[in-house]
Symmetry: C2
Subunit: 434 residues, 2 copies
């Protein structure tokens, strides 16, 4: 047949079209030979297509799974094929070969493949359904987060990750050789987002933060992606909590709509509404944990077991295993935290969702003199924070905010036990590659 | 009057409403006293409202510009006010005071204020119209970039900024003390986005990149925000160029729609369509520069003056001062660049827009053996890149991509001469704060 200059089309455009000649490009996902006829399942970023060709042609091109190919043929309706059509191949062209001895194939069940291997061979892992789904969901969470905030008068900001010091004391910082000086990787955009409130009233940032955590648990990374929000003119932390209820509900609705079937592979039900998530005071939580689970060992903070137990209590009370815990002891929270009452509680909260803390937030101090007192009461010289404190002279509204760890949120949404499964290139004490 | 629990409303909701009692919160933008009556222009993140009160009340509260206040009053139609209504104040509450001696006020003309001061007092600078506009435009560019790619089957990825080595040789890297090892800040997500193509076919990332540039010009930062794209199954760099034409045109249309009046404060016209931007080969550019401007000093690369001159030639030819330059000498481009023909040219392009290079892009090599040869021809041992090269065994499509510097793009769109004006917290050789 004569060679026609027709353009490559995406696989998603094939369904329902009248018979026509098409050019497809993608990866060989599966090959099946039935006597003289062979079936090639081809995948691109929009879907998969069943291609029919002579078994002879497969052999001639020495085709293997994961090869990168161009297929030319005629698309015809075929009710037995998944997409309702199939492509009768007239010509096939290998664009690039995959190696013969791959550690796994994109059609394999990744449950059989170790996490180390899935990280080491990320491109191949992303072509599997299970790992690909994780990062498609992550991208959808990010998009929905930003859109929900854009609708609410928030402005996205981009702040520096190279800083002169830490926001929460001097520990857990990575040092950088910055020409002839020492700088540090930012632990959090906390100060910058507070400054942003004094400028724009409502700001958010999505970006990396860095913690030189020496332990390498299933919950900690040295580099993670933080969804940071800060807003001004609030009356109390309850306003931040209510914002998060609405925000996450909107994000979850967006995911249910766009990726519902993907979610149902990993969860018994779609993502819940969080509009009814209760807010329990910290002392109340300790009492409930004592009564329901005999926990008498907690006083200053929750531990992972307590987080699971509180989610279980929330599930019994509301049907959704999620709860805001408000009023942690002030002494355990950063200096900029606003107090809650006068009994040593903080206007600070965590959101526990399906057993894990995914957010820390709260109201901050907004008066310079209160920040100075808070620093002095922790035996820190306010002079060391002067450049930050000076921003509170410029017209700083009462404000609060929160931060959501993207990897942890992805894990909870997708039912993953290890945060490394939700980072494309996880970094921890021992892992610096790929 | 009795205290009613009514909620704070945004200023944008006032216009056109029937007379009603409202609570507003915001910053005192301007104060004007006319005998016994005073006018307070209040600003929040949605707009500004003219508030009328007794001059006595101003004095009593010792109100000053930039103070953070809550205003309670009755909104009434007032055709002479900017928003078509004004608020008759019944009660005013100071939420936080601004200091008495501010370096400038948000109502001032920032052209009178030095860049150093605008950076040092970012919150106040963001409340000025001119600086606020820059970062609102920047946020809108980011949102439009992501949305245009989401519509085109791209998946957003998040890749590590802590890496074992550089993508373009070993220079200009910032070293990090990573526990007992040395790591580096990523210069570019180049390798990761290529790996992403082998997984998802079309990927993008928006994030920081780091260059230890010892010079501190108006065009360079040590930390900048890169809009990175990479896509598979291309036939040549022209496909990447066409994508960028469409992408930027869509982004510019979005900006014209959302922020048209803001753009017109800084530009004679709205942002142009880039669909007709020509693509000129590098040797052709040298010849045109020779003929039109007598430039005989260029051979391997363009300089800033040549970039301006080419944009001028493009403007004369098409009406829009923008041009793609394709086919730079291969020797001046990174090892992973695909060749263009056999005469030493690269399948690599720059986009020059209004006198400045805002994009570098091109087609990459996609076969392991070609990459190994390219490394050897530069006297680099491929073994040092083995973990990267191994990814090319997993089914790597022909691919290409581009990167846009967000700060530079913001500068060009807003007509700013110095890239520091388009970074909230610029970092260079000498600047590590705020």
């Amino acid at each position: 047949m004569a060679i026609q200059a027709i353009e490559r089309v995406f696989i998603e455009t094939l369904a329902g079209s009248a018979p026509r000649e098409v050019v497809l490009r993608g990866w060989v996902y599966r090959l099946r030979v039935l006597g003289k006829t062979a079936f090639l399942i081809l995948r691109d970023c929009t879907g998969e297509a069943q291609c029919v060709l002579a078994s002879e042609a497969l052999k001639e091109h020495r085709l293997r799974a994961e090869d990168v190919v161009e297929v030319r043929g005629t698309v015809r309706p075929e009710p037995r094929a998944k997409a309702g059509c199939e492509v009768h191949v007239s010509e096939i062209r290998v664009l690039n070969r995959a190696a013969a001895n791959l550690p796994f194939l994109s059609s394999h069940d990744t449950a059989e493949v170790g996490l180390e291997t899935l990280v080491q061979y990320r491109p191949l892992a992303l072509r599997t359904e299970a790992v690909g789904d994780v990062f498609r969901v992550q991208a959808a969470l990010l998009a929905a987060f930003r859109q929900a905030l854009d609708r609410r008068h928030f402005t996205e900001i981009v702040t520096s990750k190279i800083v002169g010091g830490g926001t929460e004391g001097g520990t857990s910082l990575f040092a950088i050789e910055y020409f002839d000086r020492v700088a540090y990787l930012a632990q959090s955009p906390q100060f910058y987002k507070e400054h942003g409130v004094a400028g724009f009233e409502r700001v958010y940032e999505t970006g990396h933060v860095y913690r030189a955590e020496p332990h390498a648990s299933g919950r900690h990374l040295t580099e993670y992606y933080s969804l940071d929000i800060e807003l001004g003119f609030i009356d109390g932390p309850e306003e931040v909590i209510q914002l998060e209820r609405e925000l996450l509900t909107e994000m979850f609705e967006s995911l249910n709509g766009r990726l519902g079937p993907v979610l149902l592979k990993r969860r018994p039900e779609r993502l819940p509404s969080l509009l009814g998530v209760p807010c329990w005071e910290f002392p109340e939580c300790l009492q409930m944990l004592r009564e329901a689970f005999g926990r008498t060992d907690l006083s200053e903070d929750l531990d992972p077991e307590a987080e699971r137990q509180l989610c279980e209590l929330a599930r019994r009370a509301t049907g959704v295993p999620a709860v805001f815990v408000l009023g942690f002891p002030l002494s355990a929270r950063p200096f900029y935290t606003a107090p809650r009452g006068s009994a040593g509680a903080a206007s600070s909260f965590d959101l526990l969702f399906e057993g894990v803390e995914i957010t820390t937030g709260g109201q901050r101090l907004h008066r310079r003199q209160d920040l100075e007192s808070a620093l002095r009461s922790r035996s820190i010289d306010p002079q060391g924070f002067e450049s930050h404190l000076a921003m509170f002279d410029l017209g700083m509204p009462p404000h609060g905010g929160l931060a959501i760890g993207l990897e942890r949120l992805t894990c909870q949404v997708m039912g993953l036990p290890n945060v490394r499964q939700a980072a494309l290139y996880p970094r921890d004490r021992y892992r610096l590659t790929p």
